[in-house]
């Protein structure tokens, strides 16, 4: 990483879907170890932005680096080093907890796959559910599984897209404990949310309010 501190540094990201602007001129800098909140109402472009940061979407305009790799041209390198947790549960419901994790571990080519899977299951507390089909889990357990899958390859940057939506308060608290624990280990986290109280759990809220006001204003447009 060139300047040492910035894990994410993007300027003027813009993405348009069939003439409809989803993200307009978005800039962001996230430093190492931060838990960076990313607040905005539904439809304001949070998911689209995160997808551009983790190499799933190519920005139409703008530039920048994620983990030192170009977000427009080095997407396959970004994918190997970023942990991404999707807004909607997107693991395989017809696979068990451990099968899902083993699959993801294989996709990242982890040398000691079994051990990596066991360690993450232990850490996140999914031990009793390892043989359950992912589709049979409740919202809170699905969320843990999704976080485990995003962490299994020990990424330096974690991108979480509304991770606690539809999860009960206890599970939510535990989830945030996990995130803070990771932060202490030096993992950088960017987390999107549309709850103000959740944004307060983040240690960086820079420009968040501007973004929020900006986005709220945009939503009121026809």
């Amino acid at each position: 990483m060139a300047n040492g501190e910035a894990v994410i540094s993007v300027r003027g990201l813009t993405k348009t879907f069939k003439g409809k602007v989803a993200v307009n001129d978005f800039s962001l800098t996230v430093n190492r170890g931060d838990i960076h909140g990313f607040l905005g109402p539904n439809g304001s472009g949070k998911t689209t932005t995160i997808r551009m940061l983790c190499g799933l979407l190519t920005p139409d305009k703008g530039e920048g680096e994620c983990l030192g790799y170009d977000v427009r041209t080095q997407q396959s390198l970004i994918k190997r080093r970023v942990g991404y947790m999707t807004q909607k549960f997107s693991l395989w419901e017809d696979l068990t907890v451990s099968e899902n994790l083993e699959f993801v571990a294989r996709m990242y080519g982890l040398p000691q796959r079994r051990r990596a899977v066991e360690r993450i299951i232990e850490w996140i507390g999914l031990g009793d559910r390892r043989a359950s089909l992912a589709g049979s889990l409740s919202g809170g357990w699905k969320q843990r599984l999704a976080l485990a899958a995003a962490l299994i390859h020990e990424p330096a940057l974690l991108l979480l897209d509304e991770p606690t939506a539809g999860v009960d308060p206890k599970a939510r608290r535990e989830f945030w404990n996990h995130i803070h624990q990771l932060s202490r280990q030096g993992v950088t986290t960017l987390v999107s949310t549309h709850y103000m109280d959740e944004a307060e759990r983040c240690n960086k809220l820079a420009s968040l309010e501007d973004v929020f006001i900006h986005l709220m204003a945009r939503r009121r447009e026809p």
Partner: protein
């Protein structure tokens, strides 16, 4: 630093294979259909094959009558396969009756038949068959051929004429299959079924390979990993090769045990060639799944591919009887070539070297399909 990581990974390929296997195992319905389709088709076609119609109308062409002609006709009657129409008709009328379906067979004796038999010249009687439905006439023709061999033996007085009772019979029965020059027989159906079942199920099952990931939202998880198109596409094909082989063994066993289809050729050669055919069809399926927006669309595409395959490959209609444009389309389709290979190996005992000419069109087709699939597979959600 390299700007893009372009290397392929065996580990990721295996990951996709294992995942597909597990999902296949859990998806009882699909697996049931994959086994059920060959069984159902076999029963349906098997019924048609075993269907052994008797009492088929036979018109006799008017001509010289003798004890010999009468006895041939009686022999045909007693076999049960023929219902002899009375009275004998003119040759022109017999042709009309064949064309209209009033008669399925027409039997004609040449002038001077009796004298010729007695002279030991083995004259030729002509049995013309309406072979548009070859399955229906095959048994009757077989019976007639058997009868002709010894029908006249007891009419030939011992002593002087005994040398006329030769093994080949006192006269020759020439069978002319009208309307179906290729004379597709019952044995052609079951080997053909092999190709038809594989075409339908292999395209159908991989046709949803990518669309299903997209519809369930799991595509995002897959794309978030460093998966490369080739790894995903091939990883999704491999498990179904094994399913294809299960189907092949089912059909071949049934063909042999239930329908007595002869297996002259080398089964190993057949299985080897089948690998190419299966992979070609799986490739088409994957290609469809990269194009289709949803599972319904990919099923529609499958039938769009399947129907010309059974119509224009020579499975349903004789290939040589089709118009040029239909033959042209047919020769693009893998099934056309596979049918020739299967029939060639099973029925005619062709070896590997002799069937290579049918292989390259399949390989070419597969290569094109796979290329389209890999190009169509996006590594991003754009």
């Amino acid at each position: 630093m390299n700007t893009k990581e372009r290397t392929l990974s065996l580990s990721r390929f295996i990951a996709v294979v294992v995942k597909e296997f597990m999902q296949m195992r859990r998806d009882r319905l699909t697996f049931g259909i994959l086994i059920g389709i060959p069984v159902a088709q076999l029963i349906i076609f098997g019924y048609a094959i075993n269907f052994d119609p008797k009492g088929l109308p036979l018109a006799v062409v008017r001509g010289e009558e003798s004890v010999f002609t009468r006895n041939v006709i009686t022999g045909l009657k007693t076999s049960g396969y023929f219902r002899v129409l009375d009275p004998p008709v003119s040759a022109a009328r017999a042709r009309v009756m064949l064309a209209t379906g009033e008669a399925q067979f027409a039997l004609a004796f040449p002038p001077g038949f009796a004298a010729s038999v007695l002279r030991g010249e083995r004259p030729q009687a002509l049995l013309e068959a309406d072979a548009t439905d070859p399955v229906a006439t095959a048994n009757a023709i077989a019976a007639a051929t058997l009868i002709s061999a010894d029908a006249l033996d007891r009419d030939l007085p011992p002593g002087l004429f005994s040398d006329l009772r030769r093994r080949e019979g006192a006269f020759r029965l020439t069978v002319h299959r009208a309307f179906n020059p290729e004379g597709v027989t019952r044995y052609n159906v079951v080997p053909g079924l092999l190709g038809v079942v594989l075409t339908l199920t292999m395209v159908l099952v991989t046709g949803v390979a990518i669309t299903r990931e997209r519809e369930r939202g799991t595509m995002e998880s897959l794309l978030a990993t460093p998966a490369r198109p080739v790894e995903v596409i091939f990883g999704k094909i491999v498990p179904y090769v094994i399913v294809g082989y299960i189907q092949v063994s089912l059909i071949l066993t049934a063909a042999w045990l239930l329908f007595g289809v002869p297996m002259v050729g080398n089964i190993v050669t057949l299985l080897l060639v089948t690998l190419i055919f299966i992979t070609a069809n799986l490739s088409v399926g994957v290609t469809f799944s990269t194009i289709a927006r949803n599972q319904l669309q990919s099923v529609q595409m499958t039938f769009f591919f399947f129907l010309p395959s059974i119509m224009l490959s020579g499975f349903m209609f004789p290939f040589r009887g089709m118009p040029g444009w239909a033959q042209w389309i047919g020769s693009i389709l893998p099934l056309t070539h596979y049918l020739r290979v299967v029939r060639g190996i099973l029925l005619k005992g062709l070896g590997f070297m002799e069937v290579t000419q049918f292989l390259w069109p399949m390989v070419l087709f597969m290569a094109v399909a796979l290329t389209v699939a890999v190009i169509r597979y996006r590594e991003t959600l754009d």
